[in-house]
Symmetry: C2
Subunit: 178 residues, 2 copies
């Protein structure tokens, strides 16, 4: 941040009175601009023993496979956001289940919240965000072609949990290579 979004004056980084962190503060109107982590919501769309994955049609990781998900939008609940992102990336309306995994990615100020979901229709298809949308079982997951570090962790967990038919919430922290 270089300029105040409210008055257009220059901003500076300093610790405001009563605070203990550096913030972007306006030199003109004194407004403090806080930035905080963002929530990424998504699903693990399941049918029988298979999971619906999307081949990314957008950067980053164009052409790699991922679980449907994206930024939670203002005005949404986390579950609504996960449902919407799944619809936008797979064209199918899933039946939402329980929160299954939380991934902290503190180096990029993101928190992922992944829900279990059931694929209940056969209308899934490619979208503007996904080149292909396809079911994979444990044996044919493209392990070397997954988009983000959280994807193989979530997939391995869910295939293991399917065998036990128990799906406890787990929390993970991903440290990215510097």
């Amino acid at each position: 941040m270089k300029y105040c979004s409210e008055c257009g004056s220059e901003t500076e980084k300093r610790i405001p009175e009563g605070d203990n962190r550096e913030r972007d503060c306006c030199k003109g109107c004194d407004l403090i601009h806080y930035t905080n982590p963002k929530i990424i919501v998504g699903t693990i769309p399941v049918k029988d023993e298979s999971i619906l994955l999307c081949k990314r049609a957008i950067e980053p990781r164009y052409g790699k496979w991922t679980l449907p998900g994206g930024f939670l939008e203002n005005g949404e609940t986390v579950s609504q956001g996960a449902f919407r992102e799944t619809l936008e990336e797979t064209n199918t309306e899933v039946e939402m289940g329980e929160l299954y995994a939380i991934f902290n990615v503190p180096q990029i100020n993101q928190v992922y919240m992944l829900y279990l979901a059931k694929v209940i229709k056969d209308d899934f298809s490619a979208t503007t965000e996904s080149l292909e949308v396809e079911f994979f079982n444990e044996a044919n997951i493209p392990w070397e072609e997954l988009a983000f570090p959280f994807v193989p962790i979530a997939l391995k967990n869910v295939f293991a949990d399917m065998k036990k038919n128990e799906f406890p919430l787990t929390t993970h922290t991903i440290e990215r290579r510097k």
Copy 2:
């Protein structure tokens, strides 16, 4: 938002190409400024059958009682943020437990994530953010003096769960009066 935080030009609200929501877009450098929900992290600090509450020393709801919590900061995991907020508001380092409740408050673009925590030291005290810090059991909770709608919901749930000694994660959506 009135001005671009990167170049200082005026911004306008419009739907960017390929998007389906109105965003603040810069008329000068074309940058799109996204705003997304924020995460509030907190704890339910328990000792025996009692819960540690804080009397707010800051607005909003100055003088009302609440559970310790606040905005997740960049670079933190949700659990780290909940621990830090509890320390800042009660002066005690709790032993963090499991995620216990999620509260969506979509009208103000907030998601609360509340963790169970054990109070393991007797060093809790008032802070710059809390006028008083005090244990309450179910019988003497100041039900009429609680700060926010999520507080009585979380407290009633946890006192009920204590009797069963089972603490399943629950998710709630709070619709605020318009």
